[in-house]
């Protein structure tokens, strides 16, 4: 098991997350066409491409700098609701993790908790509103009960986020551009929730892969 990752490892985990997002743009576009304005894919593409550029062009001194750089890149390149939301989310990791040079499972769980709080504060949405919070909130809860081991925490968070995406299908949107759909939003998953799930899934796989490579 990958118990923790150093700065290079965290960087690799983020690169994997960016790659996974960039591979799933069409999926996100279609999800947002169904219940939003169709731009979530292109927004995430801009944001995660900028994050990847940040990761490729900088030598972060600590884990916090990675979270801050990725969040900042997404916030300024994505724009839209998801730029602010995912930017705020990742930047919260900088505050919770700070200048640590290792990231373990407890650190990641703390980040998810801080990220959730920051997102809720910024956007005013709550669980059940059919937003990425409905993937993040269960992920944060699962992570906080999954111990110290990073791989285990990530696996738990990713699984919970995936279930969260499923759960958004049966929610009626109360926030964002899907709000006026009312009952017509039923049956469709929330695009932002899908994005969070992709990120956590890619990170979990990267951490598992990092283990395999160093085992």
């Amino acid at each position: 098991m990958t118990t923790e990752l150093d700065v290079a490892g965290v960087r690799g985990m983020f690169v994997a997350a960016c790659d996974a997002m960039l591979e799933n743009i069409e999926l996100l576009t279609h999800a947002d066409q169904a219940i939003g304005d169709g731009d979530h894919g292109v927004g995430m593409k801009r944001g995660f491409a900028a994050a990847l550029a940040f990761l490729n062009e900088n030598e972060p001194a600590n884990v916090g700098e990675i979270f801050k750089g990725v969040g900042g890149a997404i916030m300024s390149a994505s724009g839209g609701a998801s730029g602010a939301i995912f930017g705020t989310f990742f930047r919260a990791g900088n505050k919770s993790i700070g200048d640590a040079v290792m990231l373990d499972g407890a650190g990641f769980a703390a980040f998810l908790k801080a990220g959730l709080e920051a997102v809720e504060k910024r956007g005013g949405a709550a669980p059940g509103g059919k937003t990425m919070i409905d993937a993040l909130d269960p992920a944060a809860t699962a992570a906080s009960g999954a111990g110290e081991d990073l791989e285990a925490v990530l696996a738990a968070a990713a699984a919970a986020a995936k279930d969260g995406v499923e759960a958004t299908k049966s929610m009626i949107a109360t926030t964002g551009k899907a709000r006026t759909l009312g009952e017509r939003s039923l049956g469709h998953p929330d695009p932002g929730a899908i994005s969070l799930s992709i990120v956590l899934d890619a990170m979990a796989k990267a951490a598992a892969g990092a283990d395999a490579a160093t085992a």
Binding site: G36, D37, D39, G80, A81, A84, R122, T175, K177, T180
Partner: protein, 333 residues
């Protein structure tokens, strides 16, 4: 899925190229700053400034309304996506004359969050005071008890026009905020659509409507409205719209209003004028007089076919600012 046919270069650069073209069309009246910001090119005077903005794809909104008597600047996001906080801060710095900056934009969670972060940064890093008016004119988006869940559509224009004129006349940001908030509180809109627009980068229509279907209450990004129904004669459609609109503020006998019929994209001007005929008949029936009418593309939604009707209830103060001179790419007075 059917791909929409457009005459563009690289769709990923469409916002940058659009703003370049808009700035050039001003023939020197505006300047283009990094971050997709257009500002009026004039001497800074000692006044509270007006910054507007939001996602692109609604041209001429927002960059078309920058100039004397209108906004001091516009900060533009990507298509249908709010601008980022750092662009908002840069625009805030560019327009501030030392008396602070009023933000006017449509009430969407993306805009709200990004402008709020921008405002926090402007305060913390630049020491610039800001106030905000979010336009919530779309009566189809939520019942009146939940005004904060309503989105901003063509009513943006009236609030911007009033705030732009007021910003030339008043001395403090508070006073400017009061007037713009009054304009916002008195503005209501309702939109309809018969066919979809598309985002250049995806090239796909953002929704599908049946051959004989119309969506009542359609939002400016193709967000769904109050209901989907069969297409009917124009007078019936306008009646449905007016029923929703008049009941909402509510507008009452003796009220004087400004009227805006906004083309969401590819409706023919004929359809808008045919609608105006019925709108005026309904207003006359209700004992409401029209002080001023605007008809045309004010806030589009790419090539969506449809239109919206906006009413702003006037008092002498609002009327004065609405009639005040203004000059910009998309609106002169």
């Amino acid at each position: 899925m059917r791909r929409v046919k457009k005459i563009l270069n690289d769709p990923a650069k469409v916002v940058e190229e659009t703003l370049e073209g808009m700035n050039l069309a001003g023939d020197g009246a505006t300047r283009l700053l990094p971050g997709n910001i257009i500002v009026a090119d004039r001497e800074k005077t000692d006044k509270p400034a007006l910054l507007i903005g939001g996602g692109s794809g609604h041209e001429p909104m927002f960059a078309g309304y920058v100039g004397p008597g209108l906004a001091d600047g516009a900060v533009c996001g990507q298509v249908f996506a709010a601008p980022s906080p750092d662009a908002i801060v840069a625009a805030t710095k560019a327009v501030d004359c030392g008396k602070g900056v009023l933000y006017v934009y449509g009430n969407y969670s993306g805009d709200n969050m990004n402008f709020d972060i921008g405002a926090e940064l402007a305060d913390e890093d630049e020491n610039i005071a800001t106030r905000t008016v979010r336009v919530r004119d779309d009566v189809a988006a939520a019942p009146v008890e939940r005004m904060d869940d309503r989105r901003g559509i063509a009513g943006d224009f009236f609030v911007i026009k009033v705030a732009g004129a007021a910003s030339e006349a008043v001395d403090t940001l508070e006073e400017l905020h009061r007037i713009a908030a009054k304009a916002e509180a008195n503005t209501r809109s309702i939109g309809i659509a018969v066919s979809a627009g598309s985002i250049p980068e995806t090239g796909e229509p953002t929704f599908e409507l049946g051959e004989d279907e119309i969506e009542i209450g359609m939002g400016a990004h193709g967000e769904p409205g109050a209901k989907r129904q069969k297409l009917a004669p124009a007078d019936e459609i306008v009646d449905q719209m007016m029923d929703l609109l008049l009941a909402d503020l509510p507008f009452k006998k003796g009220d004087e209003v400004a009227l805006l019929i906004n083309n969401l994209g590819s409706s023919t001007p004929m359809e808008l004028f045919v609608a105006n005929r019925r709108v005026r008949a309904r207003l006359a029936d209700a004992g409401i007089t029209v002080h001023r009418t605007e008809v045309g593309p004010f806030i589009t939604s790419q090539e969506m076919a449809g239109y919206s009707i906006t009413l702003m209830r006037l008092d002498d103060e609002l009327k004065g600012y609405l009639d005040a001179p203004a000059s910009s790419l998309a609106y002169s007075n």
